[in-house]
Amino acid sequence: MSWKRLPAAPDEAIDRKELVTISVDGRRLQAFAGDTIGSAMAAAGITVTARSFKYHRPRGLFCMTGACPNCLVGVDGVPNVRACTEPVRDGMTVVLQNAWPSVKRDVHGWLNTFSFMMPPGFYYKVFQHPRWAWRVVEPLIRSKAGLGVVPQQGDHSRREKITLHPDVLVVGGGAAGLAAAAEAARAGAATVLLEQAQEAGGHLLGSGGEAQAAELRGEAESAGARILTGTPAFGVFDGPLIAAAGPRTLYRFRARQVVFATGAIEQMAVFPNNDLPGVMLSSASERLVRRYRILPGQRAVVLTASEHGHASARTLRDAGASVTIVDLRPDAPSHEEIPVLAGSTILRAHGRRHVEGVTVGAPGSTSGRRLSCDLVVLAGFTAPSTNLVAQAGATLGFDERSQAFLPVELPPTVHAVGAAAGAASVEAAVAQGRLAGLEAAAASGFETSGGAERIDALRRAASEAGDPVVLPPEAASGDGKQFACLCMDVTNKELKFAVREGFDSMELLKRYTTITMGPCQGKACMLSSQRLCGKATGHALGETRPTTARPPWTPVELGTLAGARLTPRKETTIHDRHADAGATFMWAGDWRRPHHYATPEDEVAAVRTGVGLIDVSTLGKFKIRGPGAVELLERLYPNRFEDQKPGRVRYGAMLNDEGVILDDGTVCRLSEEEFFVTVTTGNTAAIERWMTWWLADWSFDVQVLNVTGAFAAVNLAGPEARGVMELLTEGDVSAEGFPYMACRQMEVAGVASIVLRVGFVGELSYEIHFPSMYGQDVWDRMMQAGEGFGVKPFGLEAQRILRLEKQHILVGQDTDAESDPYEVGLGWMVKLDKPDFLGKRSLLDLGSSEPGERLVGWTAEPAIVPPEGSSVVHEGVWVGRVTSARRSQAAGKVVGLAWVPSGWAEDGRPFDIQFASVTVHARVHLEPFYDPSGSRLRS
């Protein structure tokens, strides 16, 4: 087989002055700029471009539009790239797929001979007995069937996600789409046109319409339309949101009006060996000849039923091929130079690795005349590309003239034009496009000045009726595989077999045989599948609807779908100081927080014996202000607040309707009608939603403002904390003037602050909240003031040890979705005599019964600290779990919290903890492990 370049021609897409070198399966090929990989391979005489999915049959260029699976190749490690549309780049490495050692001589070709062993659904039927057989055979089958190989190394190159909001989005850059874009843009609408090919023009390109395509392109561009080539729309989602994949970019369009001008896709004819290399659609032969100047055969047979096929035949003849036209129409026109076999069809193709001839005869006959040829062109059998417009909500109805399902009802913001809407000619498509462009612009609020006369003329042209479409027979008789679906290697015989098994609709056939489920998503096979299904079930084509349209209509790389990865992270305004101090950071929800600076043990020791400073800016903070503030808090918490005096702090826990603990924190009363509330770091957003939701329901006269970001906060803790505070403020920080669980508004380090005397870590502590942008300077001043006291910054790990030594719980870690205040020892805060609060009804029910389990402290002396989540067991049976565990220097042993049966909540009761194969003997310890009287934090 020798396919060579033809002499230069005006409409060619290649630049013969610019040479490009690519490698195909290790072979260096010389191509021209403007070539696709497919055309470059064709010019080099590579006619077998892939092996088929299941039977490993040789396949060659078929469509040249990216609508079939026949030329999927690996390019620079990326599998399943369509060679026929992928432009060549100098140095690119192409690997042909699904064959070994090569697509030309693939040892797995034997599978074709044993295809009788692989009927539809064979994986449900064969190798099922004995039971182990399938497990052995399945990996073997999988290794032989498939497409490209998924790259083992991740692609970390930058991808973009771009969202655009044009007034008018035109999907499809053929004649109709370009005309629509030109009109909409001319009216002033921000217009974007999406074209999947590298050049807009659609079927005008490669069929002698290059000049018209250029004219329409120029018109659209000069009107201001933005044309995105190489950017196929692949899905329509709610909104409508239209997704498109550009080079390394995911586009999301939310347009006011959408015009679908997605054209029509040429379809295959079904006859034995219709998949042989050398059998191709006219879109392929015309593009090869006109755009890439390659003659794909010397002796061609063109099967057609329309003028389109005759034009394709003339193109081949003009390029130097001898051509025979096989026309299904008994009254087909004749030509002087091209023989026409009227009223005939192709009954079968002959050949092994390439087509060598065809048998031609009357439709339905079993024998005919054999013609020798090296090229078979299937011309003019098209199906409207309605998948995307159907995804957009269009209703499809059968059109007898075009023998196709067309959009008949459209959502108000959607238009369908051109071949996708059944336009019978280029002129009709252009007219439909112009009308839709004008309508879309007008619907977007732009004035259009088409002129009544012009609009009438456009309407007349748009409604031009074409000749009735004649389709080839559904299938031919005789031996040999007749493929309905090239992607999944599904034959006419297999479809009939599946229908006999009861899978008698398109949707069932799709799921059982996988027709239309391959890489082409039904582009090349939907019509043949529908017709074969209809024939097998005794239904007309109009009664056999296409399968449901779903995204993605065109393949899209997962990396493109993922797009640029954004990981929002929260950092306090003191973050840089922690980094400067050598902190090791960890994620705490969305926050980056210091886990430790030196060692957690040293940091714990500093707090217990001197003074430590921790950044607690991550705490959620709310200002609650207004006459209804107390009433709101009384409803949100089980605690009582009406008797809370200004300047006092209360520890509280919020409950949900079931009485389950949602969150805990402090409530400071700043004045009669103003409170400062803190909640846990990870729950801030949820609590904001919770409060806002209930506030909307209760309608109290109160305002709630999340001020988390407005305040930085630090906790200065340790026996020397007061000494440091005295250097930082002129306010009274004495035990009498500023006692435990009090709050003050005072200037600290020169900044107005809210200071709380609370003791999460069990020592004398001042929790200082101050305007966040002062963060770094205030931190610096505190560290400076603490220098003489040996102050050390401490991280989250030290804080966890310190709080555990006091048996202070962490909501979410020590509690779960069923924990109520009684079970965790917080029953003291529940005031059931209050009129109402969230969870009261549930707690009233609970109050009369003993909790099933309790959260208790425990101690042990194991070599290894049991991991959180370890099991609490009784006689080998799971009865509870460890929620927190750390080695405590203060207690001299391992301490922790665990859920145990409530009857076990007795000081000193032994129990076992198990993890992996280790058993730890522990004892219940009900009091805090450190300073049980609380004298240190009250000091």
């Binding site: 909001h165 305002q703 900044v751 305007p771």
Partner: protein, 225 residues
């Protein structure tokens, strides 16, 4: 912008009364970019990144990002009618909903203004100094639509000049204000704890589009205040 900018070397000198310095959450990132810092109304702000003329060019011809966290911000929630007029001369008043407005003003102490507004509102509205709640970034230049297309699914064209709205920017909630300036400017305000992330993300996209960071000098020279 009112007030005088006192220039200093990096890092900025302390004010004479030795009060703590106010810094944007992304302050250290500016320093790493070689910013010339200055103190203004207690804030450490970026005057330029060394090439003020280039920065002006970016603002007018391409794309620039400026840290405007120092702007004063007042949050008003509740009955807005009772505190009309909300803004003073030079303020930008962003009405985000019928019961939520924000006022953006030149850097400086706004305690008295907040109190005055609160006094007028009584209990009908809550007036809060939100200066520390938000980090702010001005995005300027004709390539602004290209930038926004890459960082938000929200439609910027839906926001008229002088308008404000809540919108997702770089996957976080933001208050977006479109300024009435001779060149396109959108100011993005995000919760301060997200300031470093948002600056880093926006600067990455700005740079990929051929723009860069700019200081207050360039922005003011082009008529922004």
């Amino acid at each position: 912008m009112s007030g005088t900018i006192a220039t200093s070397a990096v890092p900025a000198a302390r004010p004479s009364d030795d009060r703590p310095v106010l810094r944007s959450p992304s302050g250290s990132m500016h320093a790493a970019l070689g910013a010339a810092l200055a103190l203004h109304s207690g804030w450490e702000i970026v005057r330029s990144y060394g090439e003020p003329d280039e920065e002006r060019k970016s603002i007018v011809e391409a794309l620039a990002i400026v840290d405007v966290t120092a702007r004063a911000k007042i949050d008003v929630r509740g009955d807005l009618a009772c505190v009309e007029p909300l803004g003073a001369e030079g303020d930008v008043v962003a009405r985000l909903s019928p019961r939520w407005a924000m006022i953006f003003a030149a850097p400086g102490d706004i305690g008295d203004r907040v109190q005055a507004l609160q006094d007028r509102a009584g209990t009908a509205a809550m007036v809060t100094d939100a200066t520390h709640l938000y980090a702010g970034y001005a995005l300027c230049g004709p390539l602004l639509p290209d930038l926004l297309a890459r960082v938000t699914g929200w439609n910027p064209a839906s926001l008229p000049p002088g308008g404000a709205t809540g919108a997702p920017i770089a996957d976080v909630r933001a208050v977006v204000v479109r300024r009435e300036t001779p060149f396109p400017v959108v100011e993005v305000y995000v919760s301060s704890e997200l300031g470093r992330y948002v600056w880093e993300t926006l600067l990455g996209v700005v740079t990929s589009l051929g723009g860069g960071p700019a200081g207050w000098d360039a922005l003011r020279a082009e008529g922004w205040s």
